[in-house]
Amino acid sequence: MPQQSPLNQTQFLILLVLLDGPLHGYGIVKEIAARTDSGVRLEPGNLYRFVKRLMELGYIADAPQARSDESGRDARRRYFSLTRKGREALEGDAARMRSLVLALESRQGNG
């Protein structure tokens, strides 16, 4: 299987917040802001470019079943969920970063 290129930070964060279940766009924005202490606040214009790219890669997909659980305005929102391929990409990237951190820590330990 060809090795996936690393995710960028925003792609990684989107996949990460979808680990807990499907979210709509505003949910993704709020969840990422909460997990980064508002350090990353996506806007409508860029969030959906990342969403589009992640859908093209097959990492996320529409989650129509999530809408039926909602009422009112949320019912017409479009929800996204993590695919198996997306989860693998996320875990692969996390492992890659973990090895980099370990390499750095072992170097500091030796220094």
Partner: protein
């Protein structure tokens, strides 16, 4: 659950935002335009609740930059993807459609134009301010080598104040870290001629002042060592010449007090 009350201007802003999305490719709009407008509405309300009209202004500024950048990037990406397929001249058709839509709703078009003009004007002002205050270097050669030193006096709660004259003299004598040093004191002087006396802004400086800045006078000479004790010659600015004497040669004979 009750919907939170909408911020004023939300619907009009969302319509303007919908028009701005024409900067994106047709494929993007077909798949995500409605979601993006919904998210815009959520964020617009959120910013209004958090910071009021100031939040709305900042949000619009960010949105304009954001949409401009990502819209063009998306459009270029789509163009590269379908390179060679000349039958799909989507941008031209989108542009014509946007113009026709605006002509059918002139009130909305004017509102959108005013909003954009205000947004772009505010953005330019903000960036000009940031550029002049934070980014653009001082107008002196090698200005990144110029530093300003302060004294601290924690016993009276002052963590940043100008040094006393004798402390500066000690610094200048003992330090080897700087090519040259100078101290200054902002004050005012009085310009007098036969007809008038006016207060002008001035600064008392040590003789190394212009050497530190790396500049030389256009006319005359720089200050020389020791001639600054206790008070030495005066250096007049070009602005002073324009405002007070009109013609440079008339500077000669000016008395300074």
């Amino acid at each position: 659950m009750n919907e939170p009350k909408s911020a004023p201007g939300l619907d009009a802003s969302a319509r303007v935002y919908g028009v701005l999305l024409h900067l994106y490719s047709k494929g993007f709009r077909a798949a995500h335009a409605q979601d993006a407008v919904d998210l815009f509405r959520d964020r617009f309300n959120e910013e209004f609740q958090r910071r009021g009209w100031f939040g709305i202004l900042l949000f619009w500024l960010k949105t304009l930059v954001n949409v401009g950048w990502h819209g063009i990037a998306d459009r270029l990406g789509a163009a590269f993807t379908r390179r060679g397929d000349r039958s799909d001249s989507a941008f031209g058709r989108d542009l014509a459609y946007a113009v026709r839509s605006l002509r059918r709703a002139p009130g909305f078009a004017v509102g959108a134009a005013i909003t954009l003009a205000l947004g772009i004007g505010a953005t330019v002002t903000l960036y000009t301010l940031v550029d002049s205050v934070l980014l653009r270097p001082l107008p002196y050669p090698e200005s990144d080598r110029i530093v300003q030193l302060w004294e601290a006096n924690p016993s009276i709660g002052l963590d940043k104040e100008g040094p006393s004259p004798w402390n500066f003299v000690d610094w200048e004598r003992s330090t080897t870290s700087f090519e040259s040093m100078t101290a200054w004191y902002l004050t005012s002087g009085t310009y007098r001629d036969e007809n008038r006396a006016e207060e002008v802004r001035s600064a008392q400086v040590t003789t190394g002042f212009f050497r530190v800045l790396g500049v030389t006078p256009e006319l005359g000479r720089d200050f020389q060592e020791l001639e600054g004790v206790p008070y030495g010659p005066v250096m007049l600015s070009d602005r002073f010449g324009v405002e007070f004497t009109e013609r440079i040669p008339r500077w000669w004979g000016v008395r300074w007090s």
